[in-house]
């Protein structure tokens, strides 16, 4: 097993861990689980089963698939409505000066572009509308931060065990880490 496979497995398990911490209440976590279960990889399947537990993994998988379908339908419907609104707006805005319209459209386009980028970053973001996208981003960000923190702790721990630091420095680092984690959870 190469180092890249190992890295992939570690990343997958870390992602699944933060997703399972949310218990399927958020869309990004469901998207992560759905993506992990969609992979027909032997290794990933074992990781999913081990982290989520067999029956829970099945349930979550089903839920995530369902939610994706629902979101698709909603997306289509909302797009139709949006089109109608656009037409109405165009018709209404005739007496507004052209420069204002141009500036507005530029700002809107900028926001839209960035929203698209954000949708690509947040797992399952392509199915979200703007409000829920920002909400999910908020949630995802916090989980991601916790993940980074814990992984950093693990890396630090392995460094310590491997003997990079000696004596008192070791103890100090460990103490700091543990305190940080306790603060994180408290």
């Amino acid at each position: 097993m190469g180092i890249m496979d190992k890295k992939k497995a570690i990343k997958l398990s870390a992602d699944l861990a933060i997703a399972s911490a949310r218990k399927g209440t958020t869309y990004w976590s469901r998207a992560i689980i759905a993506k992990a279960t969609a992979e027909n990889n032997d290794c990933s399947r074992i990781i999913v089963e081990n982290i989520l537990g067999p029956e829970r993994a099945e349930r979550l998988e089903k839920a995530s698939k369902l939610s994706a379908v629902r979101y698709n339908n909603r997306l289509l419907r909302s797009r139709k409505i949006l089109k109608k609104c656009h037409n109405v707006r165009r018709a209404l805005r005739k007496n507004v000066p052209r420069r204002v319209v141009a500036a507005n459209s530029i700002a809107k386009r900028m926001v839209e572009k960035r929203t698209q980028v954000l949708k690509g970053l947040v797992p399952g973001g392509e199915f979200m509308d703007e409000v829920s996208l920002i909400e999910e981003t908020l949630d995802y960000l916090v989980s991601l931060r916790a993940q980074v923190d814990v992984m950093r702790c693990l890396a630090c721990a392995t460094d310590l065990v491997n003997g990079k630091y000696e004596g008192k420095k070791k103890l100090a680092i460990v103490k700091r880490r543990v305190c940080g984690l306790l603060l994180l959870f408290g």
């Binding site: 097993m1 180092i3 890249m4 190992k6 890295k7 570690i10 990343k11 870390a14 992602d15 699944l16 861990a17 399972s20 911490a21 218990k23 209440t25 958020t26 290794c43 074992i46 990781i47 081990n50 982290i51 537990g53 700002a107 900028m110 926001v111 960035r114 929203t115 980028v117 954000l118 970053l121 947040v122 703007e130 409000v131 920002i134 909400e135 981003t137 908020l138 949630d139 916090v142 991601l144 931060r145 916790a146 980074v148 923190d149 814990v150 992984m151 693990l154 890396a155 721990a157 310590l160 065990v161 491997n162 003997g163 103890l171 460990v174 880490r177 543990v178 984690l181 959870f185 408290g186």
Partner: protein, 441 residues
């Protein structure tokens, strides 16, 4: 009132299922309340909770009313005192007292307890200042008074006499200066109270007189008011109100609600993302957020790479380390801290649902012995041979004093963990780990 109603949820908001957004919102609200409390020193916490529970008695209502509308009541007393010497203001004051006070009184006590100090104050105003005959008639009979108040309340909401009130306030020097946000909140309170009253009255229908009055009043108030009463029928509604010059058709109202929601969430995100406080434009904020998310994701990538690179050496080194550090008893505690506590805390984070994550090759997630076996067969990382032996899961007997010491330390660790995060599976995992360590030693 808006945030008062939500506050019980905030107080009980420590459960784990809560999303980040809710938590953030609760925190913000709590801060707001703190600020409010600091502003008004006579408004103590017990009164606050009294308002929240809704079971307020008359005196308490009066006090809480004072607290909520603190400046308003001060204003009212000022009116009582200053009306006679200054007849020039007489035209301004009665209207203000008439419009604001009942709304605030009803808003703060939920519309149920109506015969409170607010009304008395109103009565005082009507006595001192020359007021229209409707109020005078209302003072005689309580029911009639209520009806008139309702009428006035809705008309006040429709008329929007806030500007006038503000101007009056500047004339009066005794008045405490309110900031704009507070005024907005008060406005929201007024609207909330009003709508609440309409629902309650509609649902109970015990007083037909009031009902008819309300219907009359809602007939001649503005378009938004009727819309609001439509929205009130739903249990959780969003109160939308168009300001002057804003569109009132349902599409633009919905759009405005959506935009407000987005901006609220963006505010929370702004708090969360470092260096995002000074940016005002939405595009810039999104930029910051994207950068932050990307950086975090890259960090995860990097760290997983690092862990993957580090693990194999760990497997070999761990035995040496154990052999080295087991015999000197003085280093036992430090060893325990180093070898286990970071990983335990990793457990705390990574398995809230009784399953164990294998993030580093040293520890392998095991729920039952056979699962552990399967795991070892197909696991990506090399595992010490002892893991294959299932007997190690059952033989947890501390043979020496050192071992008991270790276990107690472990238990302490886990108790700490449970104090902070309630995961029930921790003792089990701890036992497994302890046994593993023993076997390896």
């Amino acid at each position: 009132m808006l945030h008062c109603l939500n506050a019980p949820g905030n107080l009980a908001g420590n459960c784990t299922d809560m999303t980040v957004l809710e938590r953030q919102r609760a925190r913000m609200k709590w801060q707001q309340e703190q600020i409010q409390q600091q502003q008004q020193s006579y408004f103590s916490g017990s009164e606050l909770s009294g308002v929240f529970s809704g079971q307020t008695q008359a005196g308490q209502v009066a006090q809480s009313f004072q607290g909520l509308v603190g400046c308003e009541s001060v204003l009212c007393e000022a009116v009582n005192r200053s009306v006679k010497p200054d007849p020039g203001l007489e035209n301004g004051w009665p209207e203000m007292g008439k419009c604001e006070m009942p709304i605030m009184g009803l808003g703060s006590c939920g519309g149920l307890v109506s015969d409170t100090q607010g009304f008395q104050m109103n009565g005082a105003i009507s006595r001192t200042a020359s007021c229209p005959p409707t109020v005078a008639a209302a003072a005689a009979d309580t029911k009639a008074r209520e009806a008139a108040l309702h009428e006035k309340m809705s008309s006040a909401a429709g008329r929007e006499s806030f500007k006038k009130r503000k101007a009056d306030k500047f004339q009066n020097t005794k008045v405490v200066i309110e900031d704009d946000t507070k005024e907005k909140r008060i406005k929201a309170n007024a609207e909330e109270g009003e709508s609440k009253i309409t629902t309650e009255q509609n649902s109970t229908k015990n007083n037909s007189n009031i009902n008819s009055n309300i219907r009359e009043s809602s007939g001649d108030t503005s378009k938004e008011n009727s819309k609001a009463s439509d929205q009130v029928q739903k249990p959780d509604y969003i109160h939308v109100r168009a300001r002057r010059g804003q569109a009132t058709d349902s599409h633009s109202l919905a759009e405005r609600v959506r935009r407000e929601k987005i901006s609220e969430r963006m505010k929370y995100l702004q708090d969360l993302v470092p260096g995002c406080n000074k940016i005002t434009s939405k595009a810039g904020m999104l930029d910051e957020i994207i950068n932050y998310v990307q950086s975090l994701q890259r960090q995860v990538e990097f760290l997983s790479m690092k862990l993957a690179a580090v693990n194999p050496r760990l497997d070999f080194n761990i035995d040496d380390l154990f052999a080295k550090e087991m015999f000197p008893a003085s280093t036992a505690s430090s060893f325990q801290q180093i070898g286990i506590s970071p990983e335990n805390s990793a457990y705390l984070q990574f398995n809230p649902v009784q399953q164990v994550v294998s993030c580093c090759g040293l520890e392998i997630g095991i729920n039952s012995p056979d699962m552990g076996l399967r795991r070892t067969i197909s696991a990506p990382v090399s595992i010490p041979e002892i893991f294959l032996d299932t007997s190690c899961f059952t033989q947890v007997q501390p043979p020496t004093a050192w071992d008991t010491d270790l276990q107690s330390l472990l238990n302490v660790e886990f108790h700490q963990g449970r104090l902070t995060t309630p995961y029930p599976s921790q003792p089990f995992a701890g036992n497994i780990e302890a046994s593993n360590l023993k076997m390896e030693m």
